[in-house]
């Protein structure tokens, strides 16, 4: 049949076209497969590895910081965060209801959780329900775990300063990593959002040692990012950070803070004159270092920054004060070293004239005639005007530097300032003026351009007390010896090259300041004590007293506004015969050194004596067992 044949012919053509089309299309798919699997294979293979293997860092435990007896100053505690994985929580609202019966979840929190869960594009990613769970809450949730699908408790270590108020300026604090730090340091640990690094104090100084080394684990994840399995053989454990044993005596530190409670702002440094170990470094007002690791609230930060008493500043190393009469010790030493005998006398009538200017003694009607010991004992300004005029600023400055002023002490704590020991070159360079004779006089009584930090003053005193050894302050008693408290081997401390005679005379003068009946700090001598304290008062003016005021009456400190009052200073060492401790006390705008600062030093010495006795008697716990503490981790 023709028609049937025609139909078959058309069918044949069309069928061949159709089959050819299919063949071409399937071949095209084959080409596409070739392009995916061969031409672009590397790209997709790389993506596949990213898909599969996920590198997770294992965070090392940050090293502890303890005081010289092992008392914990900075430790880590487990903190617990409650998370919920919306995808696994079948019904999020019901699960939250169940949770709310176990722990407190406010309606507002609940709303936020639901919102966060809704917003999260990847339902397998956990949403934080609550931070900082207590142990009780944790156990309550654990017990009810079967009723709480998708609920998970994550534990991580957070930094805790058990005595946060006692040592914030020494220990410092950790807090979240900022952009600059991230750029400077390529340790991958810093990229973890939970990482906290030292921002201040020892936490910063010994950051690298404390931090430890991150370990890593490689895990296989599915497309949802969920962990399938860990490649255990490729796991590298984290190396915990080193512990640091400081020279700080926590109890002494706290004693000093309490002792300074009635002052607005003060700084105290206590140093062992033999090895430079700093027993206490107190700057008040203090603050709680625990504010920082979790991120300080803006309000609290604002309060700290704008507090007129500057709690954030470590006044012991960054506070620069005119040392006032305490500087006379330097001038005396310079004179003795220059061959001026202690028998040299001055006659004080309350002032001397230099050219057209009058230079006053703090004692309006004068001291009368004084020899060198007397000049220190009674702190006569006239004697030192004359002495420094004779010596010249060069020799004074040289002596000041030998004792450690005018340069950072090098304590293992950042943010230290160097104070200032002026001379002609300095004045020309910084002030842009030549050095005038009057400048030398003012410098000779530790005023004017002379500035020192309390720690520098403590170091100066220590160098005098220890017989001229160039001791420098340090905070770590033993560096990075883990799991044991060891004592750094005694180093040979070089001499600063002063004659014994000079030092003996200065010490004798200091002894008289406190213990002689005419001594300016006689009120602070140690009574009922086996020790004798020696020291030197200093009262540094922060305002200029005009001639007009002098003619009428110099206003008393109590009559002035706080900021206008004199700084009160006192440097001391004890015991006199075998010096062990040097103390520098600066009470900001505290008035006179003898009234405001010396009694503090006295009480510190008494406390030190008491603690030594307790230690000898075995009453004081020699050390906290570090190994026990380790077990807690």
């Amino acid at each position: 049949m023709a028609r049937e044949r025609g139909r078959a012919e058309i069918f044949g053509r069309r069928a061949a076209l159709l089959a050819g089309g299919k063949f071409v299309i399937l071949s095209a798919l084959g080409v596409r497969l070739y392009s995916l699997q061969v031409l672009e294979a590397q790209r997709y293979r790389d993506m596949a590895e990213d898909n599969r293997v996920n590198l997770r860092l294992l965070e090392p435990a940050r090293g502890y910081i303890v005081d010289r007896y092992g008392a914990p100053l900075a430790v880590n505690v487990q903190s617990y965060r409650l998370e919920i994985v919306p995808e696994q929580a079948r019904d999020l609202e019901t699960t939250l209801d169940t949770l709310a019966r176990l722990i407190d979840i406010s309606p507002k929190e609940r709303e936020q959780i639901l919102k966060a869960a809704k917003k999260s594009r990847r339902v397998f990613l956990p949403v934080t329900v609550k931070e900082d769970l207590t142990w009780e809450q944790v156990s309550r949730i654990e017990v009810n775990a079967p009723d709480l699908p998708g609920v998970d408790i994550k534990s991580h270590e957070t930094r805790l300063y058990p005595y946060g108020h006692a040592t914030p300026h020494v220990i410092g604090y950790v807090s979240a990593v900022n952009e600059d730090e991230l750029n400077e340091d390529d340790d991958p640990l810093l990229e973890l959002p939970s990482t906290r690094i030292g921002k201040f104090g020892l936490e910063r100084q010994y950051e690298l040692a404390l931090r430890g080394k991150a370990g890593r684990k490689e895990i296989e994840v599915n497309a949802l990012g969920r962990e399938i399995q860990e490649f255990k053989e490729r796991r590298i454990e984290a190396e915990p950070g080193h512990d640091i044993v400081t020279t700080i005596d926590l109890a002494l530190q706290q004693f000093i803070i309490d002792r300074l409670a009635d002052q607005h702002a003060a700084a105290v440094a206590v140093m062992d004159v033999r090895d430079g170990g700093v027993l206490a470094l107190v700057s008040t007002p203090t603050y709680d270092a625990n504010l920082f690791p979790k991120g300080i609230a803006p309000g609290a930060w604002h309060d700290l920054v704008n507090n007129r008493y500057k709690p954030l500043t470590n006044k012991t190393t960054a506070g620069q004060y005119a040392p006032g009469s305490a500087f006379k010790l330097i001038v005396m030493l310079a004179a003795l070293e220059a061959g001026i005998g202690p028998g040299r006398t001055s006659h004080c009538i309350g002032y001397i004239e230099l050219g057209e200017r009058k230079f006053h003694c703090w004692k309006r009607w004068g001291h009368g005639t004084l020899d060198m010991l007397g000049s220190i004992r009674e702190s006569c300004d006239i004697y030192y005007y004359e002495l420094s005029q004779k010596l010249g600023i060069g020799r004074i400055a040289e002596m000041a530097r030998r004792l450690g002023l005018g340069a950072p002490t090098g304590i293992d704590l950042g943010g230290e300032r160097q104070g200032n020991i002026p001379d002609a070159d300095w004045k020309q360079a910084v002030v842009g003026d030549y050095w005038r004779p009057g400048d030398t006089l003012v410098a000779g009584i530790g005023q004017g351009y002379v500035e020192a930090t309390p720690l520098q003053l403590a170091m100066m005193t220590a160098r005098i007390a220890n017989g001229g050894k160039a001791v420098t302050p340090r905070l770590t008693r033993d560096l990075f010896v883990r799991d044991k408290v060891g004592i750094r081997p005694e180093e040979d401390i070089p001499s600063i090259g002063l004659k014994d005679y000079s030092l003996v005379m200065v010490k004798k003068a200091m002894q008289q300041v406190v213990n002689h009946e005419k001594g300016t700090a006689r009120g602070s001598r140690l009574v009922d004590s086996a020790w004798t304290m020696s020291g030197k008062t200093g009262t540094s003016q922060v305002r200029r007293i005009t001639e007009a005021e002098r003619r009428k009456r110099v206003l008393k400190n109590e009559e002035l506004e706080w900021l206008m009052r004199d700084h009160a200073l006192f440097v001391a060492f004890a015991p006199f015969e075998t010096p062990r401790y040097a103390v520098a006390v600066v009470v900001e705008h505290g008035g006179s050194g003898s009234k405001a600062a010396a009694p503090v030093a006295r009480d510190i010495m008494l406390e030190l004596e008491k603690r030594e006795q307790q230690l000898v008697a075995g009453e004081w716990p020699a050390q906290f067992a570090l190994s026990d503490r380790r077990g807690e981790r």
Partner: protein
């Protein structure tokens, strides 16, 4: 009523059985074996190691055995019975589609299944065969002259559009597309003039905005949009395509090796045992494995083409080529989908993907193709009677 198997003086069942192309059966079995092997690889055993007969491989093997029985059963039936009941099959399929529309209203989401207690029936799958049968019958019956007239095209157009509309409404974009393209292919081989296709194409294009507006669901629109711009939603709809490409690409030329694929237990892909099984296969066996499977499909399609050309009756020719086209569409859409060439529409890879309904549909189709082959020398009048020369 005609006997299902034999009329006096014709081939016996045994003779028909002897006519079956065992080489085609072998090719089909080969693909099914590949499928079962992949399903074994896709599963993890109770220790978590890849490779398990549970939950898919065993069941798939049983289904294939049943499917093979169905294929052979259909192959030995009388072709004329299928000609006679073609519209009935189509009518039942259409009724089921309407039924699923009503019954499925009670269910949730996509309405595609009818629960017959012992098995779930997907009417759209029945329709894939039903539509080809109906169109083959129609074009077989219409004279060559009449098939050129536009009025005579109204009936088959309606035959195509009715199920397409119902399936689109389910909504099942993939199946609707397959029915549509399969139907058009039937028109093409039936000899409908090319300008009519052009006209239909223009009308179809005009209908796209309307479909976009009124027919397509949001998720379907999103899939289409994602297809054109995969980066717009890398973690959403585009994610599957990207993950599939990653698996394919990382397979390379020779593949990661059997049971070494990452997909089986990493779960980057949803429904890796169904829609994305080709991805698994090409990851484990690489380009060589992927091309081999495509090649086997090509050979099978070639068999279909040869059987159609060899058939002496027009119904058989149309039926075979129509069903071959349906199978081709399965393969093309699935493979193109996992390679990111077409949007993800949820079409399984015939014989390899896990799933009972698709397996049954494909085996029925092969049964009918085989039937045509068995009856390759049978001549039929337009009325369905033996042609008397």
């Amino acid at each position: 009523m005609q006997s299902l198997f034999q009329r006096p003086g014709e081939m016996t069942v045994t003779e028909r059985f002897g006519q079956i192309s065992w080489s085609l059966v072998t090719l089909i079995s080969l693909l099914a074996a590949v499928g079962i092997a992949m399903l074994y690889s896709a599963a993890v055993d109770n220790t978590g190691a890849p490779g398990s007969m549970d939950p898919w491989a065993t069941r798939q093997a049983i289904r294939f055995a049943i499917g093979m029985a169905v294929l052979i059963f259909i192959a030995v039936t009388d072709l004329r019975v299928w000609l006679q009941y073609a519209y009935v099959v189509y009518g039942v399929a259409l009724a089921l589609l309407i039924g699923v529309e009503i019954a499925g209203t009670m269910g949730m989401g996509a309405r595609r299944w009818i629960d017959f207690r012992i098995f779930l029936l997907q009417p759209s799958e029945v329709m894939k065969v039903g539509l080809v049968l109906a169109l083959a019958r129609y074009f077989h019956s219409v004279s060559h002259e009449n098939s050129g007239r536009i009025v005579y095209l109204l009936v088959p157009v309606a035959l195509v559009l009715a199920p397409v509309a119902l399936v689109l409404k389910q909504p099942d974009l993939g199946t609707a597309g397959m029915l549509m393209v399969g139907g058009v292919a039937m028109f093409f081989i039936a000899g409908v003039r090319m300008w009519k296709f052009a006209l239909g194409g223009v009308l179809g294009l005009a209908a796209i905005p309307l479909a976009w507006r009124f027919v397509l669901h949001d998720y379907q629109k999103k899939r289409v949009l994602t297809f054109f711009d995969p980066d717009s939603d890398p973690m959403g709809a585009g994610y599957h395509i990207l993950q599939s490409k990653i698996a394919l690409g990382s397979g390379g030329i020779t593949g990661r090796g059997y049971l070494q694929g990452t997909q089986s237990y990493l779960n980057f892909l949803p429904e890796k045992q169904t829609d994305f099984i080709f991805t698994m296969l090409a990851e484990e066996f690489g380009l060589l494995g992927g091309l081999a499977v495509i090649l086997i499909y090509m050979i099978i399609l070639g068999y279909g083409f040869a059987i159609a050309l060899r058939s002496r009756n027009h119904f058989g020719r149309l039926l075979t080529l129509g069903l071959t086209t349906t199978i081709f569409l399965y393969v093309f859409i699935n493979v193109a989908m996992v390679m990111g060439v077409v949007p993800v529409v949820g079409v399984p890879l015939p014989l390899i993907s896990y799933g009972g309904t698709a397996m049954l549909t494909v085996m029925v189709a092969f049964g009918l193709i085989m039937n045509v082959y068995v009856h390759r020398d049978l001549r039929l009048t337009r009325g369905g009677l033996d042609e008397d020369e």
